[in-house]
């Protein structure tokens, strides 16, 4: 499903990803943890090609981009559509209602008919529990509601993989649960997901695998129960002690 091979990313002098290899099977949920600055966001952004990797290759479904040679600009938008991105700061379009936010991609990019898209967008918003907030502008919604619109907006493009970058870390504690619930439902429906989060409960309940990143490397990976109870690497132990 997803196969990342030898992924490097360098910003000027700073090497942020130092050879990431990762396979994710269809329908699996992978949780990525690690200290701040370890390259988690950069990894997700590379999968969505918001950053262009310095070298390495990414394969999703049956499409491959190899960054060791130069990648044509034309190849990027279709590749990007394989993944849906949920941002830490939601990044909703402030001049559009919840419904318009969700409809934007299918209408502008896929050129689908407005009526069909509206129906689908209403269904998606109902699914994330916002069926009664269709015509609200982002500023009229709480952080948790905004983030759920963000998830619906990404789902509207029917991606093969959903990427979540600390989707709840900007939220007040009482709003975290509603977003995690939507994500769990999605996982139960069989969506392939890569989730950067420090919500250990979500990792325990929903993840098939937990990956610990540090300094641009994948240091350790394993089933959540093994990772949290008996991590092998010293750095993983230290990190888990810090956040628990």
């Amino acid at each position: 499903m997803i196969s990342i091979k030898g992924l490097y990313k360098r910003f000027d002098q700073l090497e942020v990803l130092k050879g990431i290899d990762l396979e994710v099977e269809k329908g699996k949920v992978v949780v990525v943890i690690g200290p701040s600055g370890s390259g988690k966001t950069t990894l997700l952004r590379c999968l969505n090609i918001l950053e262009t990797p310095t070298s390495g290759s990414i394969e999703i479904e049956d499409q491959t981009l190899d960054f060791s040679s130069s990648v044509s600009k034309k190849a990027i938008p279709p590749f990007r559509r394989l993944t849906g991105m949920v941002f830490q700061s939601y990044n909703l379009f402030p001049h559009m209602t919840a419904l318009e936010n969700v409809m934007e991609g299918p209408i502008t990019v896929k050129k689908e008919s407005k009526e069909a898209v509206r129906k689908k967008a209403e269904q998606l918003l109902s699914k994330v529990g916002l069926g009664d907030k269709l015509d609200y502008y982002p500023f009229q919604l709480s952080g948790g509601q905004q983030q759920r619109v963000g998830i619906a907006r990404a789902l509207a493009m029917e991606p093969k993989v959903m990427l979540f970058d600390e989707p709840t870390s900007a939220l007040d504690p009482e709003l975290v649960g509603e977003v995690l619930k939507v994500m769990k439902d999605l996982a139960n429906e069989g969506m392939t997901m890569i989730v950067v989060t420090h919500e250990m409960r979500f990792a325990r309940e929903a993840a098939d695998e937990v990956i610990f990143m540090d300094g641009g490397f994948i240091v350790e990976r394993g089933k959540p129960e093994d990772m949290f109870t008996s991590p092998k690497e010293e750095r993983t132990k230290q990190f888990l002690r810090l956040i628990q």
């Binding site: 279709p78 990007r80 941002f87 402030p94 991609g105 502008t108 990019v109 500023f139 493009m157």
Partner: protein, 234 residues
Amino acid sequence: MKMFLNSIIADPERVSRLIDIAQSSLQPLLKGAILYTIPLTLITFVCGLILAVLTALARISSVKPLQIIARIYVSAIRGTPLLVQLFIIFYGLPTIGVVIDPFPSAVIGFSLNVGAYASEIIRAAILSIPKGQWEAGYSIGMSYPQTLKRIILPQASRVSLPPLSNTFISLVKDTSLAAMILVTEMFRRAQEIAATNYEFLLLYLEVALIYWVICFILSIVQGRLEKRMDRFVS
């Protein structure tokens, strides 16, 4: 001022003459406004805005030659007086065989001017939109032009509305410079009428009052527009 008032009050005949002139000149002045001042302002503003958006996009593009051309254009227009620019177009170009009528000359001159000034406003507005908005557009598969058109420009236009309204109001007043290149807009008509009856103060005050009324109405419209566009931010 006191002398002027005294001379009027002491002379009832002059008072009725002044009232006559003020009344009879109102129609040709308003005609000048409706036929020339207002159309010149509107046409120029639309052309200028298109030029401004293109220039702003050139300046933020990654294509070096485009950047440089846009910079030189903005610098040249901002660094030279508007009146000189109008003279170059209307009185200067004919010496190399390019003859343009007064009204189109004014449209060209003012459009180039608005284009340069407004491009700075629009560029700043585009740059003020958070990077996350571009990325959100890209992440749902939108291209650069799609993201620009659907996501960035609508938000940038809200940011740039107040300064652009100011540009527009300035433009209304600046069109009086077109009098210098023989466009028979409102100010030129005031000059022509005053030249026949020598009531310069009266006519220039009258024309000033009309400009003021137009700008006052525009500033009310501006306030309304800003309120409407604020509906999607708290």
